[in-house]
């Protein structure tokens, strides 16, 4: 959500207005409504106008009509455009937008899986979160869940039509190194990886569908279960979206508390990543050190919120209670304690000859591939693309805080490690500045007892530890949301894994997967 988007329609888009296409100004950017037939033309024009990044792609089934909704972003002009494509209820079809934004490939698979909308021209339209033989499309309004006792037969990949000399290896879903329940079907020719096909959905819990039968405040604890190592960073996009719908602004002190807790969450998330990545390449002690540091950060979160990992501390309109006595001092102790420890990790990892041998030149993501594939977060910044939503699409009080955007250009694992280490240092700086900026004041804005926004839709978007994390909330005037969509950075970043692994040795597969930094909770939702 950005203050910078103007309410007017950008000049280049106004020309799209015509029969079957309407262009309107929305509070979060232009809204273009079109038919499936005119969609490719609209997409081409958007691409020409510099909308190079696919920010979110989903569908909404109620209130009627069934429609594909996606949002694109111009990284240069910092503007959004939302495209709404109503499709017919029975046998819905829509042309694919992958020629314009390749990142849409998996997103279209998800919409096919959950809504049943076919994307003509998508070369790989399989289900992604549910098994291939699942009956029905769950996010449709009239969906009937099947009998939970009826087990579906398992489908195995068929190795018989592989070329000579290639074998199929199944990696996961139970494996110590997949960082969750992820299954990779790997095609090998000797030691070299020919193809990787991730099979998702082992942790799919239907959170988006669940959210439709909860009231707005009741959805917040479920958001914690998405990116479960990032604490409050999960609550943030959702409350931003609902606050947009209500037209509520949190008080300044609440924003600062959100920033402090959010950056603490970012530090803990990166510590988990660093520890598990080091463990994957054999440096077990670093894993324990990272968790030791993380315990102190979790103690701080526990003091404030009462929980350590699934925090659900943000509320619509701010935070529910203030910081406890002495919190500022203890947090400063923590940031002071953390810095020399990060230097130790440099001695053990990023400066270590063996680690450099394992990480340099491995899993390279070229800078030119970042935006078309909607890669965000440290993965993008490690490849030289300097997009950090705290600066590029600012929210909360980040514009007032001085911090550097971590940037490296090699795009390999070493660059990603350096970016995340730098981000931890910068997060410590941000926390210290935010603590200085704290002043007495309320921490929760006045919101109605029962949250019932006017019908409408809004996005809330933040820079989470993994990248561009946004929530899209559609309200229909009832106390329960009509649609809640979570665009998770891990899902989008994981899409480039096959590209990163092609041609790599099988021994590097684990390291490359670790370097992408996925959390299955937000991949599968």
């Amino acid at each position: 959500m950005s203050e910078a988007t103007t309410p007017l329609v950008p000049a280049g888009l106004a020309g799209l207005q015509g029969d079957a296409v309407t262009v309107a100004a929305g509070p979060q950017g232009a809204v273009i409504t079109t038919t499936p037939e005119r969609l490719p033309e609209v997409c081409r024009r958007l691409r020409e106008q510099g909308f190079d990044y696919l920010a979110d792609f989903t569908a909404v089934s109620h209130p009627e009509p069934l429609r594909v909704v996606f949002r694109v972003w111009s990284t240069t002009a910092r503007q959004f455009a939302q495209v709404v494509v109503p499709v017919e209820q029975a046998q819905p079809v829509c042309p694919t937008i992958t020629p314009f934004w390749p990142a849409a490939a998996w997103q279209e698979r998800e919409v096919w899986d959950l809504f049943g909308i076919r994307f003509a021209g998508n070369l790989d339209l399989r289900r992604i979160l549910l098994p291939e033989n699942w009956p029905g499309h769950p996010l449709l309004a009239d969906y009937q869940a099947p009998d939970p006792n009826h087990l579906l037969p398992t489908i195995e990949p068929d190795p018989s039509n592989l070329p000579e000399g290639q074998t199929l290896i199944n990696f996961g879903p139970q494996h110590p190194s997949t960082h969750g329940v992820l299954r990779l079907v790997v095609t090998l020719a000797g030691e070299e990886i020919m193809a990787v096909d991730p099979v998702l959905g082992y942790l799919h819990r239907g959170i988006e569908k669940l959210a439709e039968s909860r009231t707005y405040p009741q959805v917040i604890p479920y958001t914690d279960r998405l990116d479960y190592v990032s604490g409050v960073l999960n609550n943030w996009p959702y409350v931003l979206a609902v606050e947009s719908l209500l037209g509520v602004t949190p008080p300044r002190r609440a924003e600062l508390i959100r920033v402090i807790l959010g950056e603490l969450a970012r530090i803990t998330s990166h510590l988990v990543w660093l520890g598990t990545f080091a463990n994957d390449v054999g440096a077990t002690s670093v894993f324990l050190y990272c968790f030791r540091e993380r315990e102190r950060a979790l103690d701080l979160m526990e003091e404030v919120t009462g929980a350590r990992q699934t925090i659900s501390f943000f509320r619509i309109g701010g935070v529910p209670y203030d910081l406890p006595e002495g919190f500022a001092e203890r947090t400063r102790d923590f940031t002071r304690y953390l810095r020399p420890r990060l230097d130790e990790y440099d001695a053990l990892l990023t400066g270590n000859r063996i680690f450099i041998a394992r990480a340099q030149g491995v899993g390279v993501l070229k800078g030119a591939d970042v935006l078309p594939w909607a890669v965000s977060g440290p993965m993008a910044r490690a490849s030289g693309v300097a997009i950090d939503l705290r600066r590029s699409d600012p929210y909360s009080v980040y514009p007032e805080i001085d911090f550097a955007v971590a940037l490296e250009k090699e795009g390999d694992l070493l660059a990603r490690t350096r970016v995340r280490m730098t981000e931890m240092r910068e997060s410590a700086r941000i926390i210290e500045q935010a603590l200085e900026m704290l002043e007495p004041g309320p921490v929760l804005a006045k919101v109605p007892r029962q949250i019932k926004p006017e019908p409408g839709a809004a996005y809330g978007r933040i820079e989470s530890a993994r990248g561009d994390y946004s929530a899209f909330v559609v309200s229909d005037g009832t106390p329960k949301p009509a649609r809640v969509r979570f665009r998770s950075p891990s899902f989008a970043n994981l899409q480039v894994l096959p590209m990163l692994c092609r041609g790599a040795k099988v021994a590097d597969l684990i390291a490359i997967l670790g370097g992408v930094d996925i959390i299955l909770g937000e991949v599968d939702r």
């Binding site: 604890p221 699934t310 529910p320 000859r353």
Partner: protein, 165 residues
């Protein structure tokens, strides 16, 4: 090439220095549970508690208004009211903690300072029935008092700072 080998060897020694420092000079941070138990922060979201009020029927401050059950995302709480007006109290108050998210929305919803969350975290059981807590268990004497919504709101930074609404 030789310089590369040299810096490589030095980098390995730098790493060795970090680990030996941790080995010899840093304290152990793990605790031998259950000999040593951890004391959670006062606001910790542990087991629930219904505050006692001997003057009221039912013995607790709870009036069985059901706002906690409404607020809960996971349908954990079941309340059966009894009595009218000021005598209204829960005949049955059941919390199915196997489904509980420990999000504290119920405590925030309670207008009578009846429901609180304590710092007790050792609440595991061996059967599913052990995860269901009924009124007598939730009000048992000798349990810590926990923190209700108003107490959480009051536990702020120095006096003079603002609370919330």
């Amino acid at each position: 090439m030789l310089r590369d080998v040299g810096t490589g060897i030095i980098s390995i020694f730098k790493g060795l220095r970090v680990t030996i420092t941790n080995w010899l000079a840093r304290p152990r941070v793990t605790q031998a549970y259950p000999r040593q138990r951890r004391e959670p922060a006062p606001r910790y979201r542990g087991l629930f508690m219904l505050r006692a009020d001997p003057e009221r029927p039912g013995g607790t401050r709870c009036t069985a208004c059901g706002l906690c059950a409404q607020a809960c995302p996971a349908r954990v709480i079941t309340v059966e009211p009894e009595g009218q007006g000021r005598e209204r109290h829960p005949a049955r108050y059941r919390m199915d903690l196997g489904h509980c998210l420990f999000c504290r929305l119920c405590v925030e919803a309670c207008p009578f300072e009846a429901l609180a969350m304590t710092t007790e975290y050792e609440i595991a059981g061996y059967t599913r029935d052990d995860t269901v807590w009924e009124l007598p268990e939730l009000t048992a004497a000798g349990r810590p008092a926990g923190m209700t919504q108003k107490e959480l709101a009051a536990a702020n930074v120095a006096p003079g700072e603002g609370g919330e609404q």
